[in-house]
Amino acid sequence: MMETIPGIAEVGSRNATAAYDASKTKTVLRVSGLEVTYYTDLGRAKALDDVSFTLGAGEKLGMVGESGSGKSTMALAMMRMIKPPGRIERGQVIVDDVDLMSLDEEGMRRARLSKIAYIPQGAMNSLNPVIRIGAQMADAIRSHMRRESRSAIEDRCAAALRSVDLDPGVYRMYAHELSGGMKQRVCIAIGILLRPSVIIADEPTSALDVVTQRQVMETINKVQADINAAVILIGHDMGLMAQTVDRVAVMYAGRLVELSTVKEMFTDPKHPYSQALINSLPNLDKRGVFSGIPGLAPSLLRLPSGCAFHPRCPHGQQELQRSVRPAPVILAGGRMVACHLYGEEGHAHE
């Protein structure tokens, strides 16, 4: 199966070397029952519906799904950066035993970057064009450590720049003097300045060419190893995911439908939507027509009843799928799937 997925022949290879073992690391992130609603003029759109998962130190989670499936909302909700008309309705995001949702505004501001960092999607415009890179790194540190001396701040910035393979001279440069890949590295360097426990990278390579993509991903791997943070990698590049992450979370219509190790996900996806995603990857051996996923992603304003995927699901035309929302089921090996095909006892109905 592995060699039938072109371009991602390295599936699981990183896991073998990094030997990530969930049982040995301490849990640094615990998300439970997270729910976000956007109050639009056309009605309420539940962009995130009862999402729960945990992440250990040093673990890397890939979050995939179609546009509008709630990946970015997930990231913003964890940073508590959902802007009106959106609202976080309920849920907990526990980082290092502190529930971010219970913090006041000032507490949350301090938690950003120091506990949970965000590496932005549009790195091209994520740096202020009129102030120096160094100033943008220094202000981030000073906002969290008021007493830090100037030289200590500069040392910290230089170390961060070096760890993303940038020359410390970048400190004195402006954003327009850097290439796209360099800007993305600066964003990563900013993300690790305060050695956070959790790093969320929102499509960090979407605007870069493939060579730079790979370099940036390697940089993320390296800095993660340095500070042993949990990383959530958001994106829809399945090939990139296969090469970099430990586990993959599949989002559909604001819900987490499957969470498996990368190897299980690519060799034996359980949820029919995950299966469709994996099958839609182009295949070198079986040339021909791309097999997409029939139908369209549902509108969050008018979600299908029961299982949100049932109108597009090959198994979805029964009363159960149409009326009852499937509860998450834990299968053997600790993987999670929310689908009626898998019963409470964790065995397939088929």
């Binding site: 950066m81 064009p129 009129v130 202000d139 981030a140 900013i190």
Partner: protein, 332 residues
């Protein structure tokens, strides 16, 4: 910024002033009118002069003003005079020179117009920035609205309304003049307060109507900047609201405003003519107004050339300031 660019900008400044002066020199000479002949013609109509004497007088005056020389020679002399800021004698206030007339009226205009323009820029820009910033308090945001409403009122109407209600009806502030009649200008607090009392209404007339424009342009720019990724990322970095507002939002939204300020300073004299006239202030606007009525060409020339130099100088300064604000245009 290299030395070469500085030289280039300065040369460009000289070029602009030269081009404007040349246009100012040649345009009146395209018309067939002769100021001296018209002047003596009027005199002759009052009677008691022989036409031959008049012709002699005209010829001698032409000679005195150098108008009998070939056009090109006159032009060279004129350019030479401009470099020395020498525009000749004022015709209506002989023997005062045009330069002296300008020098006397200039401090008034700078004091009022420059201060009000900069003040409206600062107030309007800050209000606009605050109005577009979602986290600013409601009472502060609502302060922008009255100024936006007043944008449509021209300074003349504003001035008349202020004069009528505050000056004439309520008698809170004087109706006009730069200082009270009979007061001798001295370096004293009494004189200063008297002076300020006379400046409040003209200043209000200028500020009230122009703040709204700055508010509107800054608010528009602010809304655009707020959506920029770097403002979002600044919040993700856990920066304090004040720092995001100042270094990420304001710094970037300010750039087009600075261009607007330079342009607005260029039109200062236009508003000076109206407002100084209305409030009876002895500034450059009043000087220009009087000079036009008295056909006082040297003073008109002087003021026009002076305005040209001032605007060109402001633009040159802006060219030097802008790269300091925006590093992206530092390498030309």
């Amino acid at each position: 910024m290299t030395f070469k660019i500085v030289i280039k900008r300065l040369l460009f400044f000289v070029l602009v002033v030269w081009a404007a002066s040349t246009i100012v020199f040649f345009i009146p000479r395209l018309s067939s009118r002769n100021a001296i002949r018209e002047r003596f013609g009027e005199l002759a109509r009052t009677g008691g002069f022989s036409p031959a004497d008049i012709e002699k007088l005209i010829a001698s005056m032409q000679q005195q003003f150098g108008l009998d020389k070939p056009l090109l020679e006159q032009y060279w002399q004129y350019l030479g005079n401009i470099t020395r800021l020498d525009f000749g004698y004022s015709l209506s206030r002989y023997p005062t020179t045009a330069t002296e007339v300008i020098a006397q009226s200039l401090p008034w205009t700078i004091g009022l117009l420059l201060v009000t323009t900069v003040l409206s820029f600062v107030i309007g820009t800050l209000l606009g920035a605050v109005a577009a910033w979602p986290k600013s308090p409601g009472w502060l945001r609502s302060m922008a609205t009255p100024f936006i409403l007043l944008t449509g009122v021209p300074p003349v109407i504003m001035g008349i309304l202020l004069l009528f209600f505050i000056g004439f009806r309520l008698k809170w502030l004087p109706l006009g003049g730069a200082y009270s009649v009979g007061v001798v200008p001295t370096w004293s607090w009494t004189f200063f307060f008297d002076l300020m009392q006379h400046q409040i209404l003209p200043a209000l007339a200028l500020i009230l109507g122009s703040v709204g424009g700055w508010v509107l342009s800054m608010r528009g720019m602010g809304i655009t900047i707020q959506g920029e990724d770097y403002v979002n990322f600044a919040e993700h970095k856990g920066l304090t609201g004040g720092r995001i507002f100042r270094d990420y939002y304001l710094r970037n939204a300010l750039l087009p405003q600075v261009t607007g300020l330079a342009l607005a300073l260029g039109t200062v004299v236009t508003s000076a003519v109206i407002v100084e006239g209305l409030f009876g202030l002895p500034g450059i606007g009043t000087a220009l107004n009087l000079a036009i009525r008295a056909n006082d060409f040297p003073v008109i020339y002087g003021i026009v050339i002076f305005i040209t130099i001032a605007i060109a100088a402001l633009m040159t300064i802006l060219e030097f300031v802008y790269p300091l604000l925006d590093p992206r245009i530092r390498e030309n």
